[in-house]
C-alpha cells in the first residue's frame, strides 16, 4: 500500500493511505498516512454503519487536505465498538499460514524477508 502510494505520488497525483498498521505503512515511506485502530476486513467501519463509514472517510479526506509534509501520520480518533476478540473473529487461514504451520522453519524465512523465488518453490508461474 505504502509503496504503491509512493509511485502514484511520484507520478503527480496526491495520495493518502488509510492504515490499520500505520507503523509498517509509514516505514515503507508513504507520503501521507491516516492511522486507524480498526480490525482488518472492515477498515471503513461496520456493515451497514453508513454514518460511521462517512465519519471515517471525512477524517481521511481532511487528513489528505491538511497533511503538510512528506511522512505525515494523522491519527484518527475512532474506536472500534466491539471487544478485540469479537472484532478479530475467525480470520481465514491463508495458504502461507497453512504452509508455515506444516513447516514452521518457513515462518522464520518469512520473518527475515527471505522470499523464495518461484523456481525454488516449484510453482508453475
Amino acid at each position: 500500500m505504502g509503496l504503491a502510494s509512493r509511485e502514484i505520488e511520484a507520478a503527480g497525483i496526491s495520495t493518502i493511505c488509510l492504515s490499520m498498521i500505520p507503523e509498517l505503512t509509514a516505514a515503507t515511506g508513504a507520503p501521507r498516512v491516516a492511522a486507524i485502530e480498526y480490525p482488518f476486513s472492515r477498515s471503513m467501519g461496520m456493515v451497514g454503519d453508513a454514518a460511521g463509514q462517512a465519519a471515517v472517510l471525512r477524517a481521511v479526506l481532511d487528513a489528505l487536505a491538511t497533511a503538510g509534509s512528506y511522512g505525515s501520520v494523522i491519527e484518527l480518533p475512532f474506536q472500534w465498538p466491539e471487544p478485540r476478540r469479537k472484532a478479530m473473529g475467525a480470520l481465514p487461514q491463508p495458504p502461507i499460514t497453512v504452509l508455515c504451520k506444516r513447516k514452521p522453519w518457513l515462518y522464520f524465512k518469512l520473518l527475515s524477508g527471505e522470499i523464495p523465488l518461484p523456481k525454488q518453490t516449484g510453482a508453475t508461474r
Binding site: P39, A54, L64
Partner: protein, 172 residues
Amino acid sequence: MLISGIALVDSFKFLDFAARKLMKAWSDREPRRPPVWTPLKRPLAQSRIALISSAGIARNDQPPFDQDGERRNPWWGDPSHRVLPRGTTERDVRLYHMHVETRYGEQDLDCVLPLRRLEEAQQAGVIGSVAPSHYSFMGYLLDAGPFLTKTVPQIVARMKSEEVDAAVLVPA
C-alpha cells in the same frame, strides 16, 4: 523502527502473535526511502478523488483474481488489478483477498471501498467529484515487484486520463 509520531493508534492491536511479529520485523527492515510529495493541486472541494482498495475486489463481469495460483505457491500473490466503475456496489462484485474476512465487504462494499460514502461527500460539497474509475488489487504481495512496475503504472495512466487529483488507498 518505531515511528515516534504514532502515539494513540496501536498498529498491532488486531493481529495475532505470529502476524504481529511479522509486521514488526517487516517495519524494522524497511529501508529509508527518499521523500515523494505532490501537494494537492486545488482545494479538496474542487478535487477529483479515486479510491484504491487492497481487498482483491473483482466485478462479476471480470476475471476473478488468481486464488489457485496462491494456493499452489503460497509465497505468490496475484499482482494484477481490476477497474471498478463509479456506481459499483456489493451486488456487482466478489472479494478475493485470502487473508481477510471477505463476507463483510460482500455484504456492504463500503466497509472496504467507500464508493457510496464518496458520492455523499461530493453531494455535500466536501470533494469536487468522484472519479469515473476506482481500483482494487490483492493486498498479499510478498514480492511487490511486478505489481509496482506493471500494475501501478496502468492505474496511474488511467487516473491521469481521468484527471484525478488524489487517490485514497483503503486497506483490507
